[in-house]
């Protein structure tokens, strides 16, 4: 009986606590009012992979966010409020990223949130943020799994990943039969960013009569790529499409191919070669020659906003336009999307921001125009293929684009 009485007391206390919690909380979260006192900064929270597998990308994203914040603060901030970034590290962990956003919203009371790096982390992060009614504008979560989760608060300013390889696949298919490769190998990491890209490209290339001689996936946590690369080399495919998320994967395959004296006529990787000097330092500039990567942005983009950002990046971090990681621009574009949303809605109310971004408006960014569909995908960007040609990182596809230069095909021999 005493035990039962104790149980009732515990339940009563818990009920009161829960009732209090519900009374003083609201679905809109910490910034549901959307107003910030005069003279107070606007606090923007984000979780980035500053250590772990995505640390190189996470750090580039940090640079992009900080560049945008510095630029915007130089223009007076957001609606007169200085921008203060609260950046925490998730160590590339899909579980830590959830904890981080929960803390950012419930403990740090950030006014807005920016997305993390990679689709793998964006999906759990966006779900967590949605519970508080916050918008999540991000620049690196373009996998179909992110948009198929039924979320209404996520907006990806970058290129949807599924269409990334389409220009390359169309280019292969468009080659005259005498030049068209006869065989192709597909090898991809099990990652939401890479896997959706391959079937789309394969369908186009297969229809052009190019035979698939190797198609395998490998676990994202793989560290020894030698047997996989050797198997691809043994298949002697004339073209290789590698579903990679980082530099080490591409670097390992390139090294193993060279060691096996195998040089495909065309070699494209879904990520890695787009990381500027981070890529060329790892693989050597000589071996980078001819390597391709799909993306919607590169350092030499003629977009005026992009040119300004690249100049500022070089001033702050040094290097050349080719050295600027595409992640920097993707992060910067997130800030630009939020800038317009805040200015047009006249405040920091996340519900209004979500509604505004779903209204079909077009926003200008360093990536080019951004317009979201009902799923939060950017429907405006054009997919391009970029290639390292000597020390230059240039646009090569679509060939009809005014900025495109002639593609280096076949790929030059390994030079290291």
């Amino acid at each position: 009986m005493i035990k039962r009485k104790g149980l009732f007391s515990t339940l009563s206390v818990a009920s009161v606590a829960l009732a209090t919690l519900f009374t003083f909380s609201s679905p809109g979260g910490a910034s549901s009012s959307g107003t910030i006192a005069k003279g107070q900064p606007v606090l923007i929270g984000t979780s980035l992979s500053l250590s772990g597998d995505f640390s190189a990308d996470g750090t580039a994203f940090q640079q992009g966010y900080e560049l945008w914040a510095a630029d915007q603060n130089a223009r007076g901030g957001l609606l007169g409020h200085k921008i203060q970034l609260k950046i925490v590290s998730d160590a590339s962990s899909p579980t830590q990223v959830v904890t981080n956003y929960q803390d950012l919203i419930s403990s740090d009371h950030v006014d807005l949130t920016f997305g993390p790096f990679s689709s793998l982390l964006t999906l759990p992060a966006a779900k967590a943020v949605a519970r508080y009614g916050y918008a999540m504008v991000e620049g690196a979560g373009g996998a179909p799994s992110v948009f198929q989760a039924g979320l209404t608060n996520v907006f990806d300013s970058a290129l949807p990943v599924a269409s990334g390889l389409v220009p390359f696949a169309k280019w292969i298919a468009s080659l005259p039969k005498s030049q068209r490769p006869t065989s192709i190998a597909y090898v991809t990491s099990t990652d939401p960013f890479t896997e959706p890209q391959i079937p789309v490209a394969e369908k186009i290339i297969k229809a052009a009569g190019v035979k698939t001689v190797y198609y395998k996936t490998f676990p994202a946590e793989a560290t020894d790529y030698t047997p996989i690369a050797d198997a691809v080399a043994s298949a002697k495919a004339q073209v290789v499409i590698l579903g990679s998320v980082d530099v080490p994967t591409v670097s390992a395959f390139m090294q193993a191919f060279e060691q096996a004296h195998y040089n495909p006529k065309a070699f494209i990787a879904t990520a890695g070669p787009d990381q500027g000097s981070a890529f060329t330092k790892a693989v050597g500039l000589g071996n980078a020659d001819g390597m391709m990567v799909p993306n919607a942005w590169f350092g030499g983009s003629k977009n005026a906003m992009s040119e300004k950002m690249v100049a500022e990046y070089i001033k702050k971090y040094g290097g050349t336009a080719a050295d600027v990681n595409a992640d920097v621009a993707e992060a910067y574009s997130v800030g630009q999307v939020i800038t317009q949303a805040v200015e047009k809605t006249g405040g920091f109310n996340n519900a209004k921001i979500i509604s505004y971004l779903h209204s079909g408006v077009t926003i200008q960014s360093v990536l080019g125009p951004v317009k979201f569909n009902s799923l939060g995908e950017n429907i405006k960007p054009t997919a391009f293929t970029f290639q390292w040609q000597g020390s230059n990182f240039v646009e090569v596809n679509p060939a009809t684009d005014p900025g495109a230069v002639k593609i280096l095909y076949p790929k030059p021999a390994w030079k290291n």
Binding site: L50, S51, G52, D53, S55, A56, G58, T59, S92, T190, K216, T217, F218, P219, E221, A222, T223, D224, T226, P227, I228, D230, A231, S234, D246, V247, P248, S251, A252, Q255, A256, E258, Q259, A260, H261, S277, A278, K281, A282, V283, G284, N287, W414, N416
Partner: protein, 294 residues
């Protein structure tokens, strides 16, 4: 899948596995003598890789020649770490505490490496890194052959030290029973310190090969330590021979599975084998209940 692809995967596995075995040997030696699970072993491997990188890029020193500097350097680093941090850990919670302390050391080193070298990936370059030689129809990379030869030499030297020297006898006595070793006049504390130094020193060699075959940054240590721990658990905690056998066996199996069934099954098989073997032999393949040195 062709027969030659299978043979090639076995060769790849043996060559790569020997380097993992070398790295794991240091880890198992440290556990065997000190009852310390050094989860910082992965970051020490990366530290070794960065030291080789710095010597190569800034001073133009060849990767293998540089080992004459990096191995003693990491030996000294190991001595300092053991004396300053690990020698203070005592009592029944020593193993658990050692995990926490070495993890903290790992985080500090990771942070320092990120500050000095940035998080951008780098790779070690030398004329032989990307070249290979054709043997019986197979292209065998020089770097893996050299790494294999280096691992054999260093493991041979370690074996000689353990079984042919007076210090080795002290180490083996400490491995078997620290109290009894102390009673017969062995300075177990000094033996522990030197063993920790040796265990860390071998990471310089392993790190150099790792850095020449993988683009790396400080965070690469996480993938390494999980693999190294599996190898020493499978071989038998504290067993040098076990680490050697398990390193070669596991990496070879992983490579063969990758070729036969596909890469996605290789990691699964890696851990499945661990579970199966441990369920039959909880002490690992070469682990012994009383004397842990194979």
């Amino acid at each position: 899948m062709s027969g030659s692809a299978l043979v090639h995967s076995i060769i790849d596995g043996v060559l790569t596995g020997s380097v993992y075995a070398l790295m794991a040997t240091g880890l198992t030696l440290i556990f065997g003598v000190m009852d310390i699970i050094n989860v910082a072993q992965g970051i020490f491997v990366i530290l070794g890789a960065y030291l080789s990188y710095a010597l190569s890029v800034h001073l133009g020193i060849d990767l293998f020649v540089g080992l004459a500097i990096t191995i003693p350097t990491l030996f000294l680093v190991g001595i300092v770490v053991e004396r300053v941090f690990l020698s203070r850990i005592k009592g029944p919670e020593k193993v658990v505490m050692s995990i926490l302390v070495t993890y903290a050391i790992s985080l500090v080193i990771e942070g320092a490496l990120n500050m000095v070298f940035s998080v951008n990936y780098v790779e070690l370059h030398a004329w032989y890194v990307n070249r290979s030689v054709r043997v019986f129809g197979f292209w065998l990379p020089y770097i893996y052959l050299l790494g294999f030869a280096m691992a054999v030499v260093l493991l041979g030297a370690l074996y000689f030290m353990l079984y042919r020297t007076r210090f080795g006898a002290s180490v083996r006595a400490s491995l078997a029973d620290q109290t009894a070793a102390a009673l017969v006049g062995i300075n177990v504390k000094n033996v522990s310190t030197i063993c920790f130094g040796i265990g860390i020193a071998v990471t310089a060699a392993g790190g150099m090969i790792y850095g020449a075959t993988n683009a790396f940054n400080a965070s690469s240590s996480y993938d390494l330590i999980s693999r190294l721990l599996v190898i020493i658990v499978l071989g038998g905690m504290g067993s040098i021979g076990g680490a050697l056998a398990a390193g070669v066996f596991m990496i070879t199996i992983e490579d063969v599975v990758s070729v036969i069934w596909g890469p996605v099954w290789s990691s699964l098989t890696f851990f499945l084998i661990l579970v199966i073997i441990l369920s039959v032999r909880p002490q690992g393949i070469f682990g012994k209940q009383t004397a842990r040195l194979a």
